[in-house]
């Protein structure tokens, strides 16, 4: 067995970007449905902080924004011959808050940004809703002093590209993905789980650790026949 660790590129990207995308309605706010399902309006793919899951309330039961994380890894060096045994996405938490009191959790999903080396606002709705890890990390368990680990499930392993770029995303699971509107409590307050992105550097940047093997043939020698 072999193990390889992959990272998104820091800015300027060469093969794989990380950052976040958002639907931002401004302080006036918009309905939950429009915030969640609308097209993206903002993005950021440089800087140290990845706004991996952010829900912000506006006034009068409306919402300012939802943010989602995008994480790409150039896993092409695995090669088509690799058989992936396991993979773990590790994200170093940088901050969290729960002013909405809704205990947001976070999980891994597929993403499909238009470009591998830069984000754009339209990438907001490219994130999937099928979890690539069986166990979301709860708000309480989200560490801001070490890496948070997502062990990828079979869907997640299948999402790994052995010849190209693996495209993952982070979303709040229990409200954004589940499409459950949080209970509005007050205007302009937020619940979020933040992390460091690749620009933060060694020891903090997101990483995808893949355990794999490549198989040689197995042959058996049989008795000779037709011996004269």
């Amino acid at each position: 067995m072999s193990t390889k660790t992959f990272y998104p590129d820091a800015n300027p990207e060469v093969s794989s970007v990380d950052g976040h995308v958002a639907h931002y309605a401004g302080a006036v706010g918009d309905t939950w449905a429009n915030i969640r399902n609308g097209a993206g309006t903002h993005y950021a793919d440089s800087g140290n902080i990845l706004h991996s899951a952010w829900i912000q309330a506006a006034n009068s039961n409306l919402w300012v924004q939802i943010k989602r994380g995008v994480l790409l890894f150039d896993t092409s060096s695995l090669t088509a011959q690799a058989t992936i045994i396991s993979a773990t996405l590790s994200i170093f938490g940088s901050d969290k808050d729960d002013q909405l009191g809704c205990s947001p959790d976070i999980n891994v999903y597929a993403s499909a940004p238009v470009s591998n080396i830069a984000l754009e606002a339209g990438d907001y709705d490219s994130l999937g809703i099928i979890p690539l890890c069986d166990i979301p990390i709860t708000y309480a368990n989200w560490s801001i002093t070490t890496y948070n680990n997502f062990l990828l499930n079979t869907v997640g392993l299948a999402a790994i590209s052995k010849t190209g770029v693996t495209k993952l995303g982070l979303r709040n699971a229990n409200y954004d993905v589940a499409n459950v509107e949080p209970t509005w409590v007050s205007g302009l307050v937020s619940s979020y789980l933040f992390a460091y992105q690749a620009d933060k550097g060694v020891g903090f940047k997101p990483k995808l650790v893949i355990v794999y093997h490549t198989r040689v043939p197995v042959v058996a020698t049989l008795a000779a026949t037709g011996v004269t």
Binding site: T214, V216, P217, V219, A220, A223, V227, T228
Partner: protein, 103 residues
């Protein structure tokens, strides 16, 4: 001349196109090889070697390869029929050598 058919079996191709051949010789250092041939998982592969010495023990083993590398089957032996040490006549030049007509 003695001959034998060497046999092998591909248990696992590693998920990749695979070829097989045999190494053979009078010791388990082998020294001789049959040509590579395509191999299919779960299917026997064979190669016939000829012009063997009579009454001689031979070693051989199956070899498989794919893009990830080579692998080897166990060493096996067989012995050709006949009496060890008797020359084998194959053509008129061997006969001429025996009677000293040519070097």
């Amino acid at each position: 001349m003695a001959q034998a058919t060497l046999n092998g079996f591909l248990d696992d191709d590693g998920g990749l196109p695979t070829e097989a051949m045999f190494e053979w010789g009078m010791t388990n250092d082998y020294g001789m090889k049959t040509p590579w041939q395509p191999a299919t998982i779960g299917v026997q592969f064979s190669a016939t070697i000829m012009n063997l010495c009579p009454g001689q023990a031979y070693h051989f083993r199956a070899v498989g390869r794919n893009a990830n590398g080579d692998s080897y089957g166990a060493d096996m032996t067989f012995s050709t029929l006949g009496e060890l040490g008797l020359p084998t006549l194959v053509d008129e030049f061997d006969i001429l050598r025996l009677i000293g007509a040519i070097e």
